[in-house]
């Protein structure tokens, strides 16, 4: 095998770190992102519970967060990170900015998916006396599930990309390995190898996403 100039355990650890960060941040980010998406869809003009103020604020907050380059975002929310995980460096600490980064992004993707649900479905739900929560849970989410899964797939891949930058706060991970030990040290074999690892990750995520979305799409 090619000598990558760095111990195998380091690569293994990086892979674990990446999976850990992407996994946790995706779960939390999905919950927050979905909540925001749902609120956007509910409160928008013509939505189920139109509310200009809530919509306007949330819309703006999402835009603000999405405007800030990730590296600066990491710095901005350091106090928050510290408050939540007790430290501002390391893999666990990276999850906070990753969540803050991915949640609004997912919110936009999920919002778009939810908007594709036929109005008739919502009317059916309303005619059954469904609560707003039930409309979301039993109608909007399942009906757009195929598209939601693709959005999450997209989010997971975007998250994987962001973890590379989380190396700035000592989070490690394969992307950081590619960037620092590969790219910065101009260690091309390592860079290639780590990118291949990333490709495998992306491919796995996408295949899984496509598969699930196809299964959930019954049109």
């Amino acid at each position: 095998m090619i000598d990558l100039d760095i111990p195998n355990e380091k690569i293994l650890l990086a892979a674990q770190q990446t999976i850990y960060m992407v996994g946790i941040a995706l779960i939390i980010g999905t919950i927050l992102g979905a909540a925001m998406a749902v609120i956007l869809v509910l409160t928008r003009k013509g939505g189920i519970r139109p509310n200009k103020i809530v919509y306007g604020i949330l819309n703006a907050v999402i835009n603000v967060v999405r405007s800030i380059p990730f590296i600066i975002l990491m710095v901005f929310i350091m106090p928050l990170t510290k408050a939540i995980v007790g430290t501002r460096i390391g893999t666990t600490a990276a999850i906070v900015p990753l969540v803050v980064f991915i949640a609004p992004y997912l919110a936009r993707l999920l919002e778009s998916s939810l908007l594709e649900v036929n109005r008739g479905i919502v009317e059916a739900a309303q005619s059954m006396g469904a609560t707003t929560f039930q409309i979301i849970w039993h109608f909007l989410l399942p009906e757009s599930s195929g598209s939601l899964i693709l959005a999450l797939t997209n989010g997971a891949i975007g998250l994987l990309g962001a973890t590379a930058m989380a190396g700035a706060i000592g989070a490690g991970g394969v992307g950081d390995l590619a960037l620092t030990y590969g790219y910065e040290r101009m260690n091309f074999p390592l860079m290639l190898f780590t990118i291949i690892v990333l490709i495998v990750f992306v491919q796995l995520i996408q295949v899984l996403g496509n598969f699930l979305s196809r299964r959930l799409r019954h049109k």
Binding site: A124, S127, M128, G129, Q134, P142, E143, H218
Partner: protein, 340 residues
């Protein structure tokens, strides 16, 4: 009881305004099977959708059991809506759920236990003859099958009001009949008030007790089915009634009448109720020297009352025909001479 008080609905967009309803006044009593007919675009669906507040009037009020659904708080609106089931014109099934789950949905929303849901859904699916399709997704169903799922779903919760927007448009006559019988059954046995939009006048004829005729957003005629069908006043109502209680003389008969050289008169008789049975034609034949040809005949039963139409050609000497006409006049049967 559902009351429409001076209800108007205007859909406005940047380019134009559509007056879907214009000052509708209508009362649907508890226990009615109330039919609404009218041309496409007359505002029927809009009217129906106001009963569960899917549409709100731009003027006037809709009162359901005395409540203005537009004015009550959301929680109460939901409670009221649970008592009102709806069969949608476009079905509005969940593509992501199986037939079973679609029908089970309203029950699930009511927190019924799984066992009870399974039991009830199975019964409903058996009834709409879809028990073999319970785990199919809507995309794999035929048009009529989808419609039947929609009907089963609406019946799932045993509502007190059932709104049906052309519930049998995609169904064959036999399935239509069985659905109509079911509707009649829930109406009779559970006292469910049913509001039904349909283009198939035989649907109205078979199960409705009252009917409203709509034209361009207005209710132009309403009353018991018997009244409206036997004595339609508005020309649109006559048009509608004539499509089912057809009293047009078929073209081919018209042609052969034209070849008749003897003296003759053509008249249209309307029988209502038991007098359809009276041996009027027998009597004419026996009493007068005329030959009676039945050019056209139809008998319909509306709400247990028979409504019959007969187009007769009387052939014979002028005086005899006149005498026969006088006889008919006395016999309490509506009649009119018709020109061919």
């Amino acid at each position: 009881m559902i009351q429409f008080v001076n209800v108007s609905k205007e859909f406005s967009s940047s380019t134009e305004n559509v007056n879907a309803l214009r000052g509708v006044n209508l009362t649907i009593e508890k226990g009615d099977i109330f039919g609404v007919i009218g041309f496409s675009g007359a505002g029927k669906s809009t009217l129906l959708r106001m009963v569960n507040a899917l549409e709100t009037p731009t003027a006037g009020q809709v009162l359901v059991q005395g409540k203005d659904l537009e004015k009550i708080p959301p929680a109460e609106l939901r409670k009221e809506r649970k008592k009102i089931a709806m069969v949608f014109q476009q079905f509005n099934l969940l593509d992501s759920r199986t037939v079973f789950d679609n029908v089970a949905m309203p029950l699930k929303l009511n927190h019924i236990s799984k066992v009870q849901i399974a039991d009830r859904v199975e019964k409903l699916l058996t009834f709409v003859e879809l028990s073999d399709k319970w785990d199919a997704y809507p995309a794999k169903l035929s048009g009529g099958q989808k419609q039947r799922v929609g009907i089963a779903r609406a019946l799932a919760t045993q509502p007190s009001i059932l709104l049906c927007d052309e519930p049998t448009s995609a169904l064959d006559p036999k399935t239509t009949d069985s659905i109509l019988q079911l509707l009649q059954k829930v109406n009779r046995e559970l006292g469910v008030t049913i509001l039904i939009i349909t283009h198939q006048i035989n649907v109205i004829q078979k199960i409705c007790n009252r009917v409203a005729v709509m034209e361009s957003g207005r209710v132009v005629e309403q009353g018991t089915v018997l009244d409206v069908f036997s004595h339609p006043k508005e020309s649109i109502t006559k048009d509608f009634v004539s499509t089912v209680i057809d009293d047009h003389i078929p073209e081919s008969i018209k042609k052969s009448i034209a070849t008749e050289t003897r003296n003759s008169t053509i008249m249209r008789l309307h029988f209502l109720g038991s007098n359809s049975r009276e041996a009027l034609i027998s009597a004419i034949n026996k009493k007068f020297d005329v030959e009676t040809n039945i050019l056209f005949a139809s008998v319909h039963e509306l709400q247990g009352t028979v409504l019959g139409t007969l187009v007769l050609q009387l052939v014979g000497p002028r005086e005899e025909i006149a005498a026969a006409e006088t006889y008919i006049q006395k016999s309490d049967v509506d009649f009119e001479e018709v020109a061919v």
